[in-house]
Assembly symmetry: C2
Homo-oligomer: 371 residues x 2
């Protein structure tokens, strides 16, 4: 009576989601367990431990939040910020802009240090602003998904520590593609997404919060404005009490557990090297077409390349060529966001997709289309 679902096969080379490993797909298709089942709670413990390894942290409060990376961003701000707090945001693209918006909705006095799209935040500009504003929270993005910039972290974090600010870092696109060491870097709050270098479907936000953040939550004068994302309440479920808060997204967590096993089996160092090698092959292969990296070499992300379009493609409108790639070749690449819309492409080689064969497949398709 009903047709079985039959979807086209896609190679997802945009800014996320990336393709999911068949083992992760199978894991999330396992029959369900209850969210308080001891077997499921054991898997949740395993996920938390594996995420601690990947983030480079000993934070007990390391968990997959029940929403996408954007919910992770919201969780970080709603727990840390009280009305009237000063929050300094480093804005190097769309996701830094989003931080300003989310912080403002928590009642923060938002100060910003902005930089040109495609460039990093300058340490001196951030340090100067931190000393001037003396904010409660300093927030910025490690891997700016709108521009492909890899932001150096430590110097800004050190400056924030000097004024006793909390450091909030967006690692949506970097987790499981770049080695992270958030404890060594002095990061208090970090969040990511599952659909980038972890190669899971979107829907969860791996996140971690320092004990200092939890103290801050306990000492708040106003309750956290989000009940759903209140770390004080979430701690009752992911901690030893196992108190019901909301029903965990069980299947998605089963998939994440399997993805984290794949990451551990490969090893983070080998995985980072794979991303690096494949990104270099992409840029080399695209150069003859006239694609030019937006970002200078030292600050490029390996898992996401932002490329200025060749003149003839920009002039003809790039959306048509992206549609051709999708419809004729089953390949998705990403366009630009915000001020870069129509001017760049964003090509992701993330997690399972960071393979030379995928670079070849894209280059072949482009050769056919562009001659």
């Amino acid at each position: 009576m009903m047709a079985a679902m039959s979807l086209p096969s896609r190679l997802l080379l945009g800014p996320g989601p990336s393709n999911v490993h068949p083992r992760v797909l199978r894991a999330q298709a396992q029959p369900l367990l209850g969210h308080l089942d001891p077997v499921f709670l054991g898997i949740l413990d395993e996920v938390q431990a594996a995420l601690r390894d990947l983030f480079g942290t000993a934070n007990p409060m390391t968990l997959p939040l029940s929403g996408t990376g954007s919910a992770g961003m919201e969780a970080a701000f709603v727990n840390l910020v009280e009305p009237g707090d000063a929050v300094l945001v480093g804005v190097a693209g769309v996701f830094g802009e989003r931080m300003c918006e989310v912080a403002a909705r928590c009642g923060a006095r938002v100060e910003r240090v902005a930089t040109e799209p495609g460039t990093i935040l300058r340490d001196d500009a951030m340090a100067e602003a931190i000393r001037r504003v003396r904010p409660r929270v300093v927030a910025f993005v490690h891997a700016e998904t709108s521009t492909g910039v890899r932001q150096p972290v430590e110097s800004i974090a050190n400056a924030a520590r000097e004024v006793d600010a909390f450091v909030l870092l967006d690692c949506v696109t970097s987790l499981a593609g770049l080695p992270l060491a958030i404890d060594a870097w002095g990061i208090d709050a970090v969040y990511s997404g599952t659909q980038k270098c972890l190669s899971c479907p979107p829907g969860l936000s791996p996140a971690s919060f320092s004990p200092r953040v939890l103290e801050r939550v306990r000492a708040r004068r106003h309750p956290v404005q989000s009940w759903y994302l209140d770390l004080g309440l979430l701690g009752g479920y992911v901690g030893s009490e196992r108190r019901y808060h909301h029903t965990a997204p069980i299947s998605a967590i089963l998939g994440l557990a399997e993805a984290l096993r794949l990451v551990a089996a490969e090893g983070m160092e080998a995985r980072a090297e794979r991303h690096r090698v494949v990104a270099a092959a992409l840029l080399e292969g695209l150069a003859p077409f006239g694609f030019e990296p937006l970002v200078e070499e030292a600050h490029r992300l390996p898992m996401l390349s932002a490329l200025r379009l060749p003149e003839r493609i920009e002039a003809a409108g790039e959306a048509g060529l992206r549609r051709q790639l999708l419809e004729k070749y089953g390949i998705e690449v990403g366009g630009g966001l915000g001020p870069l819309a129509g001017r760049i492409w964003r090509i992701g080689l993330m997690g399972e997709n960071a393979r030379l064969a995928n670079v070849e497949r894209l280059l072949c398709a482009l050769r056919r289309e562009l001659g």
Copy 2:
């Protein structure tokens, strides 16, 4: 090197999650599509249309929110409430209590009308409070998952309309198990969960909002405190613009699409009747053991039965017997929440699980354990 994931088989007869249909499991294990892929957007349109049918609404803003049912509750309040607004909540159990908490975190002046656990909110008490308080929002729960009570809706909604209040209804446990007619009932904001009578994994909150709610959001003096759940922003993605907001939980939506096809193929009337018949068989089968329904017959939910424990089980501590059922028979049933902890069981026969064979399996296990 790594063991394949091997999970125990569970029959989930608690208050949710329920077991997932194999076709839904397969659908959510399909290779991924991008969240802006035209094929995926077509499936999202299909999901929205099917949800309109199930809710009984013409609301264009009918969508699966990217979080669990608790995120749906939060979405309803953060969009409707501005600081200082009066919100009247009918409290008939834990989920009504949660509404008070969520509304307060939006800055609402919360007024409550409470009733004994296991009983419905009385129309006259609600109408009197509505006329006295003249609230901006009247909120209550259709199917109170903590007590198994089915709340009559229309009379309260009518009283709310007389003072021009918005009506906010929790249908987490009723959607796809009871026929809903939210337009005919005069409901402005409604949310549900996927892990109850839809028999999907937890992780999405099907929800619907009247055009009047969207007008209210546009006319707000303060921005919606949640960026993630702001209906004004979400409308840019689920509407015709297809503007990126956050990355939709693609796999979960593929699963939901398949579940909604199964519901449509059965038909809501037949599905509701199946729930009713199976619930009656459960109560009949449990009576000889001394389990007594907490709720009087006219107000019982078909998909979730709250049962007072036989004295000997309550005296011995009910948790041990639940553990036996889980470990020896693979059957999960739910304990009581809040004031009913240790005093009742909650047995769900939801969605795919509402089958006479499941009732028999539970009764057999209880006969073995209780003699």
